[in-house]
């Protein structure tokens, strides 16, 4: 049996702080996903355009980000950039920047796959009705690509939300940071981490559920 006396008071006392921390985490993930999608779309189009050097540059970015631990990237942006003279971002901005670049690399691959799986007839049809190249992209390719990649986008959002826990390492007061704080102040290890785990689980599940509704409405993959 577990010989441990639970004391949940320490959690209730900090409840407003915990919720604030959770919302901050969700905010960080959503902001990063939004910026990451923009980076991803630009990069995906860059890769399918027939510019060798552009393709190579984007490939390097994607492979560099995907093969580097996220924590290392966070440390580099937070600790490294200011020492190289770049002091433009505060701790939250530098975290969003890092997570967006990280998300961008993954979204680039997702969108590239999306672009590749758009049936050629769609583009042919768009040409046939006289749409200009940019109109073809904006009105035909992009919407279809989004609908194809919707499940991957939801997947990425959940994964990014869990990655926000790494922001604790650079003093961003999100959920993991707050749990560790309660832990340090009260030594209530079980209560603090069980609460954090439950909240991560519940939130990830809620995000997944909402996105599944969206998918059911829009996705082309049934």
């Amino acid at each position: 049996m577990l010989a441990y006396n639970f004391n949940w008071d320490v959690i209730w006392r900090q409840w407003p702080t915990i919720i604030e921390a959770l919302l901050l985490g969700i905010g960080l993930a959503v902001a990063s996903l939004a910026i990451g999608c923009i980076i991803g779309i630009l990069c995906a189009f860059g890769r399918v355009s027939r510019h060798k050097w552009l393709d190579w540059a984007i490939w390097s970015y994607v492979e560099f980000i995907r093969n580097t631990p996220l924590l290392l990237l966070i440390f580099f942006v937070y600790f490294g950039l200011p020492q190289m003279g770049i002091r433009a971002f505060d701790k939250i901005e530098s975290f969003i920047l890092t997570l967006s670049l990280y998300a961008g690399a993954y979204m680039c691959e997702v969108f590239r796959a999306g672009l590749a799986s758009i049936p050629n007839q769609y583009v042919e049809a768009a040409k046939a009705i006289g749409l200009r190249p940019w109109q073809r992209q904006l009105y035909v390719v992009l919407p279809v690509m989004f609908r194809i990649t919707l499940p991957s986008i939801s997947n990425t959002l959940i994964s990014l939300f869990k990655d926000t826990s790494l922001a604790a390492a650079i003093a961003v007061p999100e959920l993991t940071f707050t749990a560790r704080q309660i832990n340090a102040n009260t030594f209530r290890v079980m209560e603090a981490w069980l609460t954090a785990s439950a909240l991560y689980l519940a939130t990830s599940y809620a995000i997944a559920w909402v996105l599944r509704l969206v998918e059911r409405r829009y996705s082309v993959i049934r």
Binding site: F75, Y78, P82, A169, A171, A184, N185
Partner: protein, 302 residues
Amino acid sequence: MRSKDKSAEGVGRRSLFGLGAAVGVAGAAGSALFGARAAQAQLVDTSKSKLQQVLDRGHLIVGTGSTNPPWHFEDDTGKLVGMDIDMSRLLAKNLFDDPEKVEFVLQGSDARIPSLITDRVDIVVQWMTITPGRAQQVEFTVPYYREGVGLLMMADGGRFKKFDEVKAAGSDATIGAMQNVFIEDWVHQALPEARVDQFESPDATVQALNAGRVDAYLGDQSAIRWLMQQAPGRYVDGGYGWMPNSYASAVKPGDPVWLNWVNTVYREAMLGVDFPTFSASYKKWFGIDLATPKVGFPTEFS
């Protein structure tokens, strides 16, 4: 303060003997015999002291750590060094005339009291803060350092260089500190309005200071001195320390002979014959030149 407590305890013990003697007088006519036995008991006590055990064994066993510069840590060659290590070697030097005759038992901070109680070590020399609660379980020697927290700042490129400037900045100042029990309260005790950024480890906090992410690093005074010693000219000390506490060694309770001997060594290291050794260690680990204690007077006047 500690030595006064000790003498009070000593008196207590002696008066207990006195009481025993009085009972002896009342109970039997042979009071002289009893007195002799009491004296003998004290003699036996002395030879059973840890002091004698250590001398017989031929080396001292010290409980300490290996992960906290400048107190006890491994240098570039893997050798255990630091202020605590120097204090241990000073004891060995005074026991065996050989500072190398020490066996170090490496342990975590939470093992400091248990290792004494279970006789695994003769003494703990491991940056131990004196608290009344701990003093109920072990006996403390005279302190050899007064610890506290202070602010470390960049010598160049930072926004502040002095404690007063940080204080004047109010909520515009950000202090970096390692995430720890009530660390925010510690900061706010001296800087009520300052913002606090908390990091997982001391080195991450120092990196935040290097990167200009925080205006000052809140650390132990000894850690601040050590960092300044490691990178001369890079950092400055804010010039104000708070949260005072005393570092001392601890021994198993109930052995006044051993405790008194260690106290004698420590006191004479700080004030007497071993001052050159002590001040050299102090200079090495904290970068501070100690003033020679005033001669020609008792300690109270130096």
